[in-house]
Symmetry: none
Amino acid sequence: MAKVVDESKLLRIKEASIELVVQKGYGGASISAIAHQAGVAVGYLYRFYDSKYALVSDLLDDKIKNIAGQLEAMMPKCSTILQLITLLVNYFFELALHQPHHMRFIYTLINDYRFSISIDQHQRIHSLCRQLLHIGKETREIAPTYTEEEIYLMTVIYPVQFINVRFKALFCTQVLSETDKERVVSLCMGALKGASL
Amino acid sequence: MAKVVDESKLLRIKEASIELVVQKGYGGASISAIAHQAGVAVGYLYRFYDSKYALVSDLLDDKIKNIAGQLEAMMPKCSTILQLITLLVNYFFELALHQPHHMRFIYTLINDYRFSISIDQHQRIHSLCRQLLHIGKETREIAPTYTEEEIYLMTVIYPVQFINVRFKALFCTQVLSETDKERVVSLCMGALKGASL
Amino acid sequence: MAKVVDESKLLRIKEASIELVVQKGYGGASISAIAHQAGVAVGYLYRFYDSKYALVSDLLDDKIKNIAGQLEAMMPKCSTILQLITLLVNYFFELALHQPHHMRFIYTLINDYRFSISIDQHQRIHSLCRQLLHIGKETREIAPTYTEEEIYLMTVIYPVQFINVRFKALFCTQVLSETDKERVVSLCMGALKGASL
Amino acid sequence: MAKVVDESKLLRIKEASIELVVQKGYGGASISAIAHQAGVAVGYLYRFYDSKYALVSDLLDDKIKNIAGQLEAMMPKCSTILQLITLLVNYFFELALHQPHHMRFIYTLINDYRFSISIDQHQRIHSLCRQLLHIGKETREIAPTYTEEEIYLMTVIYPVQFINVRFKALFCTQVLSETDKERVVSLCMGALKGASL
DNA sequence: TATGAATGAGACTTCATTCAT
DNA sequence: CATGAATGAAGTCTCATTCAT
């Protein structure tokens, strides 16, 4: 019973943290603002996390875990890179649609020097990229010169950057559409296939 | 009679700022640390910049100006996207080689919610992307479905992200090589050409 | 469960602020000195006031409110200016006797360009002066040429200045006495009655 | 020749100081702003004054000297308090009209704990008040109970406060007129004559 | 268990003063 | 003489963290 209450409070803390980090940046999201928005006491927060850094770090790790988990779950269902990328891009677009804060959260922190992907998650992603590369080279969807780096950049970084360039409305103020999704998939596929110079 | 502003001091302030922002992030790079590293008094910084934000903002703007300037200078010399992307990627690699801090600086701040590209620079970049798109569609190097967004993402964001994934040694600990450069160009070209789904 | 704001601390902050502003002036009374003297942490002050200015401003407003409140309370009890001025001068002398710092505080800030009486308090005082003027002209205690300005200057400014000239011991080092009080009342009455030139 | 240049520069420094202290207060009037407005270098200022405090202190002393000088010059020409007060109030009104900054300057600093009238000037003023008191008691224009304190408060402080209440437009937005001057003189005379309680 | 009052280190910024030119 | 670049102490304010209740 008490557990249920706790879980809901923890969830509110997580949501409030993500929202405020997105709105005000890591430095601007104060613990007291987070606690206030979550409807808990400041001290309560420290029952779960040792520090503000640990809190945000943990949330980022969660998000990365989800992405890796998605890829891992998709892997056995797909036999081509196209299928996999389609599913993954779909996942990112769904995230952007239903939890835009979470998408911005990833985008905000993924390049921040202070936060880095944990070794565990990094290894999972590394392994996934290796598998993708292996499949892609078999199916000739990925040019032989490319490595895990390109897989990572095109399947994770590119969709995230695309979505956030759109969020920022740098070039286009339209909301994300099915066509955009297709364009992202198409560009990824073209990219990995390589150019016939 | 009147003393002249010591240009070398200003330069040292700029270098120290870039270095520390890269190492510790915007929030972590304190004015006193910057002044100390630059070998000037804290107050001296404020002769040139109204605030810490203005200082970092101005430095970022400089970097963006350089990139836009490079592209603008290259444009008249090239008739194909391949040539242009080759030159641009070359520019980014040179920057990464000779001024790695500056490259990391761009990477660190380009996605930071607190800093945004000034309207002037944004318009320049927008216009450049439009021209690139126009040329590319003429030469059939760019798929007809793509827009300025994709140009920007693949010619600016992708090279920057590639270099920084390498800096972080996420997948590969080798230093940037000529081969890497070719791989970046090749991937860009393939990406913009589009996939024949 | 929830801790209660320690009223005594707030009181100490107020007292320390008044004392230090009096001793060192607004600029000279640093927040850290005030906090130290009040025996609280620097940051604690900011739980109650947004800024140093807001703190001092609020204290001044309080004092002005008290004076206006005194006058308002006295008004219905008196039918002559003499009675009113006697009570008011008495109030100022009591303040000077029991809370000399507070009296000096008013004196220090009342002419400071940075601080001004709030509109609310100004209107109260204006209205009070108008009433006094009305009564005084009925009872012929105030010369017909005088206006609210003279009322204000003689009933508020003069007693405050008298007390503070004494505090400064410019001409006399005696402590304030009953005779002084009578002299102030007498001078005010004479002043407002006007001279038969 | 060189002396002339210096004198004009010094004058400009003095004027700029008074103007800026009036506009921004002592703390807000920075040395560099004063130097800029005076059209001299910051360092030049320190040839004449040891510190910012010494500068402002000296200017205040000048103003007080002028007032004392005026009174001293008037004294032999007058045989009644009325004549003296008329001349003195006239002097204050002329100052307010032609050099309002200077009048505000006196007003701003006269109550400031940091600045006090120098012993020399204080003694001059004390002596003048004594003489005035003596004359007034002879001519029966000043009530026998009053002392130098009342003389000082009514002949110096009151006119200054009157003018500044008007400057602040607390009760009246009219500019100072001949009638106002008469009212001030009349009130002073009435005040010093005392009330027949 | 849960609270939030209280802390204080440390951030940014200002500006009186100095001194090499 | 005159300048103004350079200094750095000191000020205000913030906020992650603690701990008595």
